[in-house]
């Protein structure tokens, strides 16, 4: 069935207004004291879901910066609001390390 092109236009515009950049969710799993992935690329507006499968509490800590506490066997969400490239580690187990690169929103 043919639909006049202009009939779709309001719908397209409405969708664009609701989700201008389509922020994503990035899942980082912590299992046996390892972050996977350990190198995370994201954009401002994305959310990191830290999934801790260990029976131990962990953190994602940026030295001199922010910290996310991730209790044992819990999932914690973190909305990314700043463009930055930072190394993070677990304050309780400093041998756990990763890197996060957040680009400006599209």
């Amino acid at each position: 069935m043919m639909v006049p092109r202009h009939a779709w236009l309001p719908l397209v515009l409405a969708l664009a207004a609701v989700s201008p950049a389509r922020a994503g969710t990035i899942r980082v799993v912590i299992d046996k004291l390892v972050y996977s992935p350990a190198e995370i690329s994201a954009r401002v507006g994305d959310t990191i879901e830290w999934v801790n499968r260990d029976p131990f509490a962990h953190t994602a800590t940026v030295r001199g910066g922010w910290e996310v506490m991730i209790p044992a066997r819990k999932t914690v969400s973190q909305k990314l609001e700043t463009a930055e490239a930072v190394d993070f580690y677990c304050r309780f187990h400093p041998n756990m390390t990763g890197r996060l690169e957040v680009e400006a929103a599209r």
Binding site: K32, L33, P55, F56, A57, C90, F92, P94
Partner: protein
């Protein structure tokens, strides 16, 4: 002494820790489970003493982290031996560890303030280092059961984390 025992003893001497050097043979899985559990229980007891005695926030926080993590890993160990229907078996290494821990506890109990903090944290660095060397050099290679080996490997990563954490706290105290 059979050649196998001599080789094991030589390997243990290289590890250089008194408690683990007492074992003269490759430990069995029930002995390994007992040694690992004992090491965890010792660290929990030391941490409880630190929570009671220390007035330094970083030391108390560290000690609480040790209690939480070692209780969690020992709980996993208990669940595993139950699942495998293995009874942990007391042995010379566990006994030597317990004896060394009792001596250390007596030494720590007599100290207060900054002297206690330093002695406790330094001992945590040394104890975790010793346990990690034993895990890497003897306990993990000797473990027969795959689940036990896997738990020990997680334990090694955990205790390496604790050693690094203890080193950070020790540096803060200086």
């Amino acid at each position: 002494m059979p050649a196998r025992s001599l080789a094991a003893l030589a390997a243990l001497c290289l590890i250089g820790s008194t408690a683990f050097a007492i074992a003269q043979d490759k430990p069995t899985d029930p002995q390994i489970a007992h040694i690992a559990y004992t090491a965890g229980a010792i660290d929990i007891e030391a941490a409880k003493l630190a929570v009671e005695k220390s007035k330094t926030q970083a030391v108390v926080d560290f000690a609480n982290d040790m209690i939480r993590d070692h209780e969690a890993v020992n709980q996993q160990a208990l669940e595993l031996v139950k699942k495998l229907d293995v009874t942990p078996e007391d042995n010379a290494t566990s006994q030597a560890l317990s004896k060394a821990a009792a001596d250390e506890r007596a030494r720590l109990s007599a100290l207060d303030g900054a002297a206690f903090d330093k002695a406790y944290v330094d001992n945590e660095v040394a104890f975790h280092k010793q346990v990690n060397e034993a895990l890497e050099g003897l306990l993990i290679p000797s473990a027969e059961n795959a689940d036990l080996k896997s738990l020990l490997e997680t334990g090694l990563k955990l205790f390496q984390g604790h050693q690094a954490h203890a080193e950070h706290v020790a540096a803060e105290l200086r």
